[in-house]
Amino acid sequence: MSANPQIHNHQDNLTHKEINGQDLKKLVEASLTWLRTNQQIVNSLNVFPVPDGDTGTNMVLTMQAAFDEVKDSSEENLGEIAHTIAHGALMGARGNSGVILSQIWRGFARSVDNLPTMDTPNFVKAITVARDTAYKGVVRPVEGTILTVIKDLASKAESALDVTDNLVSMLELLVEEANASVQRTPELLPVLKEANVVDSGGKGLYFIFDGMLRYINGEVLDVTDAKVKPLAEMALANTMEQIEPGQDFEVVVDFRPQKELDLSIFYDNLEQMGTSIQVGEGDGIYRMHIHVPTENLYKPIDYTRDLGVVTKVAIENLIDQMENQQGGCNRTQPTITPIQPGHIAVIAVSPGVGISRVFASLGVAAIVEGGQTMNPSTQEIIHAFEKLPTDKIIILPNNKNIILTAKSATELSVKKVAVVPTSSIPQGLTAMMRLIPSGDFDSVIDEMNAAIEEVQTGEITIATRSVEIDGVEVEEGQVIGLLNGKLVLSTSSLDEACLGILEAAHAQDYELITLFYGADLPKKDIPILENLIQEKYPDQEIEIQEGCQPHYYLIISIE
């Protein structure tokens, strides 16, 4: 179901009042797909408890782990399937909301234990047990979060049991309540109100229930829902990374239809022309957004002109934008040289394919993808070295947040595994330079540990929200610079940030400055930046490398 929009209606399966394990499996798959479609929306709402913008990702990964457990199962027993789902959610739980979600599944599963099928009263009971289990996991429940939403859902479910014993109608009521409850969260949690958002975890839970309902109603799950979205919320700027062949132009048309629009016919017709379709509506004006191949460039415009009055048309050449803005980041996968049996193997965590290529050229034995917002699991790290023909393993986590995960990998393997606690890419690369594959394990580790002190790391990114840390005040959207993990400056331009970081690092006392540019940095800016730095630091050697890392415009190594 992941690729194709749902066309038929699944109501028949479920109107007969009871569902079995296979039905539940399909509902969970629908939840996962719909949550994933809306992952970025959930991420962008994340301000509590820590504004790190990963709630959506964490919830998706938790649901993914839950679904993976039952994906290939043909078990009909509902209780069994629910238990397996809960187990998967527990094992895959990441982040605060992921843990809460896994508790919700745990309570749900316990309630339907041993039930071959589930009817509406069973379902309602399961939701209330899920609520109770969720609330048990915290001393001071903070209201205005996912906890409040599950609580409201449980109350609604209990009271609605008098009105209906039909599962589909029950689900409809719950989705409605989830939405209302999410809208109320800013009233309960001041930090949400200040940031002018609703709670991210609560919104995620809403998408989970809504995904089930959409599946039953045969609605599309892999395209963001345009029908309910107000015009102002249409995020047209963030479409860059989704661009695939056949998406040469972005066409946005505002129009006022003459008679009411039949959205399903409208969507069907648009799908003949292109992809990435979004439709927004406000005050009778519709905005249609579509990506089309060159030969279809004018078709959406002609089509909307037939429907009513076109008020505005905007066309952008995506191919050109891609080349300029994304710099056509070279996605060539690194070539890893197989290691000699018995030699020391280094596993490096890398956030971008460019950086991976540099690591590969230095002779790492395996690369694990991961970085700031995508921490790899212990499992992924172990998996990377398990099959290597050696017992001597060194892990370079290359990110502060991954060091701990890497360390737990050392405890779970029978091999001799050591972690050199590199907290940045430059540290990782510097450590890598000290590798002598046939050398003595302990002395190589000592060398690496000593080496990581010798390099300074600068990182430049965009602030995702306004905050004050380390005495530096930051406005959302500003360019910020971090030196060795600490925020040192915020400014409006990349050039200033870059020079500021070099100054703070006393770059004049070092020899080599290496810039790894990220996937989001316009390629044309790089030579300008290079000249600027060379002018200021004529005695230092400057090297430019394609990093392809997300989020960080630049990672700077000063050594």
Binding site: N96, G98, G137, I469, G471
Partner: protein, 118 residues
């Protein structure tokens, strides 16, 4: 004492104050059901303490701030994820209140609370 020199004087924040912030941030963290004193012997670790200096240790050596938390976690949650969330949440809230970076936060899981029958 945690000191910050300002042109017109200095600000002193006692470890106890930092511990109180950490304590509140930790207790709001999902999956954590209590803090427990470091020194109580293993068998008594189940005693949950309400005083904000118990279960939280703040060390300041003149340069670096280090926080140690001794916690009890709800049985049935993923301990690693909960401990990570606690750490993130404490770091965020303390740094936000203090305006200074925390160098190290260690979460010591001292026990699990089994509150439901499965």
């Amino acid at each position: 004492m945690t000191d910050e020199i300002k042109p017109i004087g200095s600000i002193h924040v006692s470890p106890r104050a930092i511990a109180a912030i950490a304590y509140h941030a930790a207790l709001q963290s999902y999956g954590l059901v209590g803090l427990t004193s470091k020194n109580i012997v293993e068998g008594l670790a189940q005693v949950l303490v309400k005083d904000p200096t118990h279960g939280v240790e703040v060390n300041y050596n003149g340069e670096q701030i280090k926080i140690d938390l001794y916690v009890i976690i709800e049985y049935g949650t993923r301990i690693k994820s909960v401990a990570n969330s606690v750490k993130n949440s404490v770091r965020y809230h303390v740094e936000k209140a203090l305006g200074m970076p925390i160098d190290e936060i260690n979460v010591h899981v001292r026990g699990l609370r089994i509150s439901s029958l499965d």
